[in-house]
């Protein structure tokens, strides 16, 4: 029997299926048309925050959700966003008030970061009074319960599936740093904005973050920029033919010819810190030292934006990470180390004696290290752990360890487990 047809068909099949599968999760929502809070006054927003039980929709999103407000400032406008975090699949909802509707109405989208599921969602905020659902106007009598009820669906489909949340208890009030990796999250998790962009910094608090870690490198002409990898590559940038070390390119070349995966420019460190200080409620920035070179220019920018934050009445901690002995040498080469907060990823001895760093950040694979963490905290140091993405370990580290914060690519999950902790 002639096998040539089979071989040729096999070759044709190879050509067809040999192409790489592209995963996409475009968020079907572009944001509110009108800035502001709509009908959601400050007192209404504060009363809404809490842990809610999920009834309708629990099969998709789990049996409880965290509800928390955040905001984004753009110029003179402040837009308030309601985030909801579920314990399954690193799910989050990002919703905004609907000023054009004469009630407490919200609309937005949901995403599951562990897969490509996303969709539209819309809700109304009501209260249950004497067993009856009524419109909520900001006043709750004893025995009244808030109910957020609405609809969701997949992708761009009109929301038709019921999702009902009933207020259960307040958020865990313990202070805890929820630090988002790569300025908010990884590009590979198909977030609506690219990692290490100004846009993801503006999104970070909607993903539950209270602070961010950003990756700093130098361009060929010495401009500090945000970029994680050593090289230009298709994981991080749109195809343009350019490759090789990012340090080989000037800032002019990068800003004019290179776009991150979702179309954003590679930001300078100054643009990133300006966004943190001016646009967001983020209170902590960890400058991860990815560069090889002098630390003085980074120190100057750190000082500038600490002062800018203070001028704006904002309490924003900006710290330079010391992840390696090379970075330690760069730090020690600084002529003046005053007014230069740092974070040490090195061992406890170097952190205590050589650096006297106020923050220690061991990697999570070293375990909870309860005794070491307690000892460092007794000395007045803060202890963060990085980069923890496993849901089971996030839950265990929050409930059983003593860290002051967790750096994660899934700040939504950290937020869920922290705020639901009892």
């Amino acid at each position: 029997m002639k096998l040539y047809p089979i071989w040729l068909i096999s070759l044709a099949w190879l050509l067809v299926v040999g192409c790489r599968q592209i995963y996409e999760a475009p968020v079907p929502y572009t944001g509110p048309d009108i800035p502001g809070a709509g009908k959601f006054t400050t007192s209404i927003r504060q009363s809404m925050e809490g842990v809610y039980s999920v009834t309708d929709g629990s099969d998709r999103f789990g049996d409880q959700m965290v509800v928390k407000w955040t905001y984004l400032r753009e110029g003179n406008d402040t837009t308030y966003y309601l985030s909801m975090f579920a314990g399954t699949d690193a799910t989050y909802f990002s919703l905004a008030g609907q000023p054009q509707v004469d009630s407490l109405a919200l609309a937005g989208y949901w995403r599951k970061l562990s897969n490509t599921e996303t969709g539209l969602a819309e809700f109304a905020v009501q209260m249950k009074h004497n067993g009856q659902l009524q419109n909520y106007a900001g006043r709750l009598a004893t025995g009244d319960t808030l109910v957020i009820s609405g609809l969701y669906n997949d992708d761009k489909a009109k929301p038709t599936r019921r999702l009902t949340l009933t207020y259960n208890r307040p958020l865990n009030p313990e202070p805890f740093a929820i630090l988002a990796h790569r300025s908010g999250g990884r590009t590979s998790d198909l977030l609506p904005s690219s990692e290490n962009s100004v846009e993801i910094i503006k999104l970070a608090s909607r993903l539950g973050a209270t602070g961010i870690e950003i990756d700093v490198r130098y361009t060929k002409d010495g401009v500090p920029i945000l970029y994680h990898d050593n090289n230009l590559n298709l994981r991080l940038i749109q195809k343009n033919g350019l490759n090789g070390p990012i340090e080989d390119y000037t800032y002019k070349q990068l800003t004019n010819l290179v776009r991150l995966i979702n179309g954003e420019k590679i930001p300078t460190l100054e643009e990133a810190l300006e966004a943190v200080v001016v646009n967001t409620p983020l209170s902590f920035v960890w400058l991860d030292t990815k560069y090889i070179g002098p630390m003085a220019p980074i120190q100057a920018i750190q000082r500038k934006y600490r002062e800018r934050a203070a001028q704006l009445g904002r309490n924003v901690q900006i710290v330079i990470g010391i992840p390696s002995t090379e970075a330690l040498a760069s730090y020690e080469a600084l002529a003046d180390k005053t007014n230069t907060p740092i974070l040490s990823e090195l061992d406890t001895a170097i952190t205590r004696t050589t650096l006297n760093s106020p923050i220690w950040a061991p990697r999570w694979t070293l375990g909870p290290q309860i005794d070491e963490v307690r000892a460092m905290q007794k000395e007045g140091r803060t202890v963060f752990v990085w980069t923890l993405d496993e849901p089971q370990f996030i839950r265990e580290f929050i409930n059983e360890s003593r860290f002051d914060g967790i750096l994660s690519n899934y700040s939504t999950l950290v937020a869920y487990h922290h705020y639901t902790k009892q």
Binding site: L3, V17, R20, N233, N240, N243, N256, L257
Partner: protein, 215 residues
């Protein structure tokens, strides 16, 4: 490794494994008391390439002009055994694409090329004794896998030359016409696919095939 890529590699292995096994099961092989003849065949050629997948031109570029054509060069060294499956190495060079334009009045140019380094398998479609009188025997299919060195050259403000490695594969077919005892002239159509860097080119070449050594 992604499941589809894994399937791809297994399928290639199966394809050439089955072809080789079938070739070695031929009557000729089973009757011969001595193996051979063997040959080392060197192929060199050039032609035209066309960049055949999407390319990204920065939206900031004004009056952008794109070229997808290039002039490739190929060198291949193959071992021709006494059965149909041949194995060897291929390298060379080809332009993938280039574009140029202006950014705020300043000229900008990007040029992208690649050097494949591929483990090659090839097989004539027919196998007859005696002289090469069969069209099927002169036709070959080939495939290979390996690494592409993808180079970029940016000229904007200053020149930046950079390169990266990309895994990839190729597939092709050729027709070789005898022009002497040791030489053939061949035409070849092939597809270069540097999967990891998302570059692919269709290449048409003329080759000079030289049976350099035989024993």
């Amino acid at each position: 490794m992604q499941p589809r890529i894994r399937i791809l590699y297994w399928l290639i292995a199966w394809l050439f494994g089955s072809l080789g096994a079938r070739a070695q099961q031929s009557e000729i092989d089973s009757l011969l008391s001595q193996r051979g003849p063997y040959a080392i065949v060197v192929t060199a050629g050039t032609g035209l390439s066309y960049y055949s997948t999407h390319l990204g031109v920065p939206p900031t570029l004004e009056a952008a002009r794109v070229s997808r054509f290039g002039f490739p060069g190929t060198i291949r060294v193959m071992w021709y055994p006494d059965h149909r499956l041949r194995v060897g190495l291929e390298t060379g060079w080809t332009t993938l694409y280039s574009y140029r334009g202006f950014i705020a009045g300043e000229r900008s140019q990007v040029y992208v090329s690649t050097t494949p380094i591929l483990l090659m398998f090839a097989m004539p479609l027919g196998w007859l004794t005696g002289t090469e009188r069969s069209f099927a025997r002169r036709m070959s299919i080939m495939g290979g896998t390996g690494v592409y060195i993808v180079r970029s050259r940016l000229n904007y403000g200053n020149i930046v030359n950079a390169s990266t490695y990309s895994t990839g594969w190729m597939a092709g077919a050729s027709y070789a016409q005898p022009v002497g005892r040791r030489f053939r002239a061949a035409v070849e159509l092939k597809w270069y696919d540097a999967v990891a860097s998302e570059n692919a080119a269709f290449v048409a070449e003329v080759h000079l095939v030289w049976r350099a050594f035989s024993w």
